[in-house]
Assembly symmetry: C2
Homo-oligomer: 320 residues x 2
């Protein structure tokens, strides 16, 4: 039987990192035009978003949706105070991220050996070794690009099933030892539950402290916000999300994708936690995204009902 | 700033009370035939559901959808071990519930004075007085019908906005003093957030102890399961839900309704909490409900993606 081990106060401020431009777009069949991506970034910035994962440096033939990552990144870097990150699968991608002066690069490492072999044709420890090479390349370049490792399938795997928590802890330590500057935990396939989130984050925090920065949840089975709440209770103050809940797991067609940014921002605001993001602007941007992705299924809940009256000072005043 | 005050172990067993036949059906424009309701109850029973709110004793002209409550209740009472409850707005309805031998009757009391006046044309304290009369009638009849009061708008109100937590605590005590045997807290309009759930449940528990039995959440703004998790952390071991997430708030058209039973049962099972309910049977019943309510919007998430492989022992075995 699991138990709740939460006891920290909730964070006062939380960074919601928008990963829609990468995690959201990479599983679509269509290629969103570069100009649209730049419009999206501009509107996201105006809505208060300050951290965006803008693409991935992978071969264009493998992922044509993200072939314009260098151009998109270059635009994102012109917006003051915006932190633009990219995903890279290996040293080669990292070298491009460093050359293009991404603020951060994120290397995925799958804690599930079966998933790692199937997706990257590498073991997790091969990826650990690659992190060492990426760190060396970064330092040799005198670059400031930050190195984060995203531990995917940390809460379970569609191929392997269970993933051992001790293995997640071991890998988090290993990538930090190899030169990563931060780690995140991702529920890639939507298997996490809140008790597991508390327990695993607790274990990783005890091992690596605040180098565990970010949690990344999918809403595949409806637990995305409950899992986010569990992570907040453990003191996690950075969460990934996708506007409109796009993205997610290609193994569960029709299912919800990533936690929807607008719903996560609402969860935070409902508890008095600041994220610096504006609902109305996010919901308006969600509407534009629906047009840009015409035909794709968007998810999320808040956009239908709108904010409660208690979060609309003006409505309160009228009611009083 | 709010903080997490959760520290209890999670309950080992939780009762999920199905309220779809009342809360779900009462806001529909259509009348579901009695024969269909009996089929629903039979299938719910076979899926492991053991507590059902089957209808409401209100004048048929006000709520034709529930005009057959006596007949539906009579059928539910034939199923061994099934606890059948009904909602009643006043003494007159309670007298019918007692005469028809409902196992329990639930009286709604709105903690929002504005909501109470608008919906019942009574103040909350008028309802407290009515509870006293209901208890006297129950005792005089030598009946075993249990008296529960559902404190609605406990987390906020679309008319009034904020609802004072101390007023919720006061009303919980008052109805128990007046003769109710249990109280529940309902987020009638989907305003609750998890920090508020922890805080308010904590206050009410400190005042009335385990007479606070049940929490009732709507998923209007996507926080239904996060709020359920917060309630579980406070030791609450009874939760209301509607199959397919039907029901909800007529003030938020198109929005999600009650927490979906199948999603809540999944949340519980994911954390090792028993509910005695079977997903596959629930999801199958959801499919039949979609046919019965053809054209109505159902909600919920789990039905799309299905159970994770880690919760399918057979799938695990195949993968091994």
């Amino acid at each position: 039987m699991t138990s709740s081990i939460a006891s920290n106060p909730l964070p006062r401020r939380v960074v919601v990192r928008e990963v829609g431009l990468r995690d959201g777009l990479q599983i679509l069949q269509r290629v969103v035009p570069t100009a649209t991506k730049l419009e999206w970034i501009r509107a996201a910035y105006e809505a208060g978003q300050r951290e965006l994962e803008v693409g991935s440096f992978v071969p264009a033939r493998l992922m044509p949706q993200l072939a314009d990552t260098a151009e998109v990144l270059a635009y994102a870097r012109t917006l003051p105070g915006l932190v633009a990150s990219v995903l890279v699968p290996n040293l080669k991608g990292a070298e491009r991220a460093i050359a293009e002066e991404a603020h951060a690069l994120l290397v995925p490492l799958s804690a599930s050996h079966a998933h790692s072999l199937a997706n990257l044709r590498k073991t997790p420890d091969d990826v650990v070794a690659e992190i060492g090479r990426i760190r060396a390349a970064r330092d040799a370049a005198g670059s400031h690009t930050r190195i984060e490792v995203g531990i995917s399938t940390a809460f379970g795997c569609t191929i392997q099933g269970r993933v051992e928590e001790d293995e997640v802890v071991r890998l988090a330590q290993a990538v930090l030892d190899a030169g990563a500057e931060a780690v995140s935990l991702a529920d890639t396939v939507g298997y996490a539950d809140p008790a597991q989130v508390s327990r695993l984050i607790g274990k990783v925090l005890r091992a690596v402290g605040d180098k565990l920065e970010t949690a990344h949840f999918h809403d595949t089975r409806g637990l995305g916000l409950a899992n986010s709440y569990a992570a907040l209770q453990m003191g996690i103050s950075r969460l990934d999300a996708c506007l409109g809940g796009i993205g997610g797991c290609p193994h569960a067609p029709g299912a919800s994708g990533n936690v929807a940014t607008e719903d996560l921002v609402y969860l935070l605001a409902s508890m008095g936690i600041e994220s610096g993001q504006d609902f109305d602007a996010l919901v308006a941007l969600r509407g534009r995204l629906a047009t840009w992705l015409d035909g794709e299924q968007l998810h999320g809940t808040l956009w239908r009902a709108g904010l409660p009256r208690t979060m609309r000072p003006q409505a309160e005043a009228v009611a009083a």
